[in-house]
């Protein structure tokens, strides 16, 4: 059971990393436009290199 001394802090540490990641993503505005983000993921390319489609 000595392994708990390593495993429990490890688990909590990983959880904390997840929480900090979430807080960072929130702060950097990644939840401001959920609808747009969903579409951007499947957009073809960087906008600036192409001619506008008609």
């Amino acid at each position: 059971m000595e392994v708990l001394v390593i495993l429990v802090p490890l688990a909590l540490g990983l959880g904390l990393v997840g929480l900090l990641g979430f807080l960072w993503s929130l702060k950097s505005g990644q939840y401001d436009d959920l609808e747009g983000a969903a579409w951007r993921a499947i957009a073809d390319d960087e906008p600036s290199h192409e001619t506008p489609p008609d």
Partner: protein
Amino acid sequence: MQATRDFSHYVRDLGSGLSHIDLAVEGVSCAGCMSKIERGLSAIPDVTLARVNLTDRRVALEWKQGALDPGRFIDRLAELGYKAYPFETVRAEAVEADNSRFLLRCLGVAAFATMNVMMLSIPVWSGSAGDMIPEQRDFFHWLSALIALPAAAYAGQPFFRSAFRALRTRNVNMDVPISIGVTLALAMSVVETLRHAEHTYFDAAIMLLTFLLVGRYLDQSMRLKTRAFAGNLAALKAETAIRLVGAGEISVVPVAAIRPGDIVLLRPGERCAVDGTVIEGRSEIDQSLITGETLYATAEHGSAVYAGSLNISGALRIRVSAASQGTLLAEITRLLDNALQARSRYVQLADRASRLYAPVVHATALLTIFGWVLIGASWHDAIVTGIAVLIITCPCALGLAIPTVQTVVSGAMFRAGVLLNSGDSIERLAEVDHIIFDKTGTLTLPELDVVNSASIPTEVFDLAGRLALASHHPVAAAVARAANAKSPLAGIVEQPGQGVRGVVDGEEVRLGRPSFCKADDLANEILSLDPEVSAVAFMRGEQRHVFAVRQRLRSDAQDVVCALQARGIAVEIVSGDREPAVRAAAQTLGISEWRAGVTPADKIARIEDLKRQGFKVMMVGDGLNDAPALAAAHVSMSPISAAHLSQATADLVFLGKPLAPVIAAIDFSRQALHLMRQNLWLAVGYNLLAVPIAISGVVTPLIAAAAMSGSSVLVMLNALRARRVAPRRS
């Protein structure tokens, strides 16, 4: 005089040589639009950022300072087929956005803590009977405390603050029992951990906060969505004024940039966007948006002009006034203040429930403690059982019962074209049994329309429409709109105060006053049938036609009135307009109760009178003169075309031309109230089952956690039913 557009009011200087502007864009709905706009705008040199927000329907733009005029972005978007206008975040929306972000942060913290405490609790639940040694259990409890205490202190803030606010004003809301329950559960768990006891409730307390925060966050984000949408609508109205900057020099500026003392020019056919006094010029103005009166008033030197007035005939110069000082507006402001103060402090269903709930639960917990002591249990065991009662009754389901329904219903209303201004209006709306409609702009459409289009040949109508494009007169504009005219005719001359004329295929054509077109007989015939209309005559060679132009009733007004009456709601018209106009509308709609020529004060008096008779009155109105009545009524609604003050006062705002959203709003709110009550009963039923178990002292943390999540999920699922309202035919 060449007008320049001046958007500098909206441009923010970011420092480092960059400027920023936010635009509200209409019609952005898909990924295609998003990339089209971003490509189109990025192609402009010196633009460093063009990013569409598809949720809020906005575009953020940044460019090298001084290199570009913001007007160019709007033109570019217009070329791409989108209407756009600069946007300024109003304070209310910024507050909602901050709130929403804070709740999400709390939710993140609470969810993290719940998951990790659960990771520690499950081994304790499953292992404490068998092979877990007490030292390990204590270690796990200490770790749980380490996670749960700071997390609850942070994530519980929304509840603690609200409870504290309520207590300070000697009130009880749902957050009071929630805060007490969570605090006591955590405190007891710490004490039990110190005593090396078997059961602690860190998991239950933090899970409770997580569930409640989910409900709060959903509620908040729905509210934010409504606000953002309303903000866009306001921005896209693109209210501008023509400001005189120097001798003969004018610039078109957004209304937000107009300061008191500025002089603005109001041309014929334009709607005034400011309050002020006429300093030069003479004209007729249509004040129907302000007073409900459809007859034109004369404006000349010294007359007060209010935002929302439509200028009909001549150009006016207006000095913008600092505060609303006109007699009418001052009177309305005074009435509005009184009505808002007197607005009976409506106690929301949730607060009424918690007023009953909190004393009962706390008394039960106390009785449990004393009961166990009397039977002979130790004080410690009795208190632990008493707190277990509080934990198990902690109003998880009760706290979710109402916000979840509100969220789902406001979403459904949003899709039906109804925006909620105040959250508790759903409950008040569901109780309505008497509706007072204003006539002008509410039962009728705000714009003028041609009512006799059926009796006019199509080719005449088309030609008249194209001719009408040459005039600024609102009545001509109505003809052009009704004819759906797009291409103006060449060589048309406007004769001020008379009409327009030109030559088509060698024949003279005229559109304007009946006398100008030599069609007085025809016009008189139409006027004698309906004295409300404005007659516009059309002449081509020997041909004569007369268009009857007036405000038309909303196309579905009659159906809506019937449907309302079928639901047992009394309908009545109270209007500031003249008697013949109101009587005609009432007769067409089959409304027997109507009042004409009513002042703002009399509107309130009528509402108070109905209130005394025990009716729950809804006021639907749009004019500035309706604003006090909107505030005085039990619940109120405005069309989106309403005056600013009225829109801000009304509880709900509906979009579009049909009146049907009124029915939809009532149906949804009734369904919502039904579900809220049902949810409260579900929560009560759960408590009736769970409390005896808690009193008997056999509750373990596992039972508490299971019961709490079970009841919460049940209530949330029930709330989802609010999306479906069976369409009722009258």
